[in-house]
Structures are given as C-alpha cells and as structure tokens.
Symmetry: C2
Subunit: 225 residues, 2 copies
Amino acid sequence: MNDKELIELFEKSFPFWAQMSSADRETFIRSSHSVSFKKGTNIHDGNECTGIILIKSGSLRLYLLSEDGKEVTLYRLFPGDICILSASCVLQTITFDVFIDSDEDSECVVVGSCAYEDLSLRLPEAKIFALEVAVSRFSDVMWVMQQILFMSMDKRLAIFLLDETAKNGSDTVKLTHEQIARYMGSAREVISRMLKYFASEGIISSSRSEGIKILDKKRLRELTI
Amino acid sequence: MNDKELIELFEKSFPFWAQMSSADRETFIRSSHSVSFKKGTNIHDGNECTGIILIKSGSLRLYLLSEDGKEVTLYRLFPGDICILSASCVLQTITFDVFIDSDEDSECVVVGSCAYEDLSLRLPEAKIFALEVAVSRFSDVMWVMQQILFMSMDKRLAIFLLDETAKNGSDTVKLTHEQIARYMGSAREVISRMLKYFASEGIISSSRSEGIKILDKKRLRELTI
C-alpha cells in the first residue's frame, strides 16, 4: 500500500484527519503498516498493545476466552470498521482483555498505539474518537450479553441465521455447526440439536455439502419475536 | 444543599470544573437538583434521559431486565461515583438501556443532561470525561460477563461474599438469599443450595436473623482461585 492509498484510508477512517498537523500526519503514516492475516490467525491475545486496526477486507472476530478454552464471540468487524480494543493501552480505562482472530483472509492496516496515544494528548478529537468507538462496542457487547442471558436458544439461532443471510444476500449459511456454536458462545451439540428441530419443522435444510438453507423465512422470523 | 456545597461536590466530581467558564458553572448549578431516593426506588428505566447522577450517600444498582422480569446486576455505585448511563442521550453511541434502582436510602445530585451535552460541545474535556466514565463501566460489565459465562457458581459466590465483607469491614453479610441471587444474576434456589453446601463444609453459617457469617475465610479464598 503506497502513501497515497494510506492517506485516503486515513481520511475515510479518522474524522479528525483534517485537523491534524502535517507533522502528526507524517508520524501516523510512518507508524502504520499493512498486514495480511490468513483465516483463523490469532491477531491479538489480550496481553500486548497491538495497535489500532483498520479493516480493508475480510473480517475479524473479537471474543472472550475462559481458562478452560470456552469462547464467547463479542462481535465481528468488517471492511471500514476500526478495531480499538486491540489498542487498549490507548484507553487506560479499558481493563479487560479480548482475543481477536482473523475470521477470513483479511487485509488490514495497523496504526501504532504510541503514535495514536501521543496524538490524543494534543488533539482531543482523536481521544474522543477512540473513546466513542469503544463505547459503541460497549453497546454491541451489551446486546450480546442480553441475548446470552435472557433469550432462549431457538430465538437466538433464528436471529443469527437471519443476520447471516441478510449479510450475505443469500438464503444459504455456509458455516459448520461448530462455527455457529463458537459465534454464539454455545456448544456444537446444542446448535446441532436446534438445527435438527428447525429442519424437522421444515424451516431449514442442513447438509454437510450445502450448508444450512433457509426454506421458510417467514416462520424463522416469527421465532425472533 | 446550598450552592457552596454543590460547587464543592462539582469540584470533587468533575476534573474539568476549573476549566469551565463562570457562565457554564452557573448553568450547571441551575440545572442540578438534590434528590433523596428511598431504598428500592426505581430511578431510571432506560427510556428517558434522567441526567448525570452524583452519589453522595447510599448506593445505586444498575441492571439489565429481561421481558419476563429476570434481572442481572451489572454493577453498583457508591458515594463519590458518577452514573453516566442514566444520561445516555449525552453519549449517542450508547444504544442499550439499563435499569437503575436505589439499593439503599440514597442522597444524590442530578445534573441535567442538556446542560452537560451543551458543555461537551464547547469543552472537549467534559466530553472525554463522560466517555471515560462510560468506558470504565464497560470494563466492569465485561468482568461480570466473564463471571457469568465462565465461572462456576461456587467460585462466583465465594468472590461475592469476600467482596461484600471487604466492603463492609465485617465478617457478616446481611443480605437475603433472594438479594444475593439478584446481585449475581442467579436464582434464589441456586444460591440457597450453594450456601447450604458452604455451611455443611463449615465455611459459613447462615441464619435468617444473623445473616451469613464467614467462619473460614481461608477456605473461602481458596475457592476463588
């Protein structure tokens, strides 16, 4: 990625770009680098300060990991999104650790934490932007939490399948039961059982080769109410 | 509460107070009011913008509420704390609703949301402060979420009891099983069963009149590891 492309990406990503001095812009460019992540790569394990990640293509998945290896997906990030929890050193008030994996082959640009932190001291807009991104993720996480705590599994799975088809513009969800379980913070057995029930009701069909096909979207929607 | 006391409280609570113009300070004082809440009063139900709440005495409890009435406590606030989620209109990136109850008889000062929002437009420090308070609560909520998702109930209850005794400086926890269940987002039956187990192991004693008394703090601590 050349400097011109990088500047275009920064202009699009950071609403405060126009307010930065040319010296600060130069520092930002010098402290950034492009990275390609293969699907399934662990990008951040909560310990170090990886930097602020801008997603150009692909997708990242943020999750919690328990000591015994149980995962709960908090949210996923797509092209145009900015990952701030990978730079929790920029936001001292963030005291929890998340794990981040590349969910597909992904192209990203990582902005160094020090450059951002340094800018935040001089430009309040940069600080406000980072905090606002974090707070909007707080909202995402609360949504997940409410789903996990309060919703029955049939409702959660119906919402998940509808979200996936809406995102892909297709009636087929090409994910394994294992993957769905991981995204939903559930167990494969639970998802398989529920999908079998959906299939027996004629709402979906599921096969290893074809994935999950939505047959009756109306009834699936009714389950989400 | 007279203006002098109010100004002292604001000086202590808002790190940007010294940077405010005298006109802004005047607006802040005029848009604030003292409120006493009786124990158990619902202060905020997620719909309206109640304002920023400064806690002078007592305590507030923030929780999620499901459609069928199940509660999960997110965190509690004590004297000196500031409640920002009751003024989610100030932070447009907060899109979830919380419920807030007065957990004891509490004395608070409520700062009007409009005055704060208006100030935030002119003083970035005020905006940053509100966002930082919100993000630090994000950290609290993630901690609760990890406990709920990943920890076994004996460990969670042991942590809860130790936290309570540390907070009160006493070896006795004067809460009903019902209350503990509500704080922990669990059911009374589950808590009662676990406390009975703790009692049978000689770790605690529990009676209606005396509350829960910690007999073996060392073993309770071991459960939290």
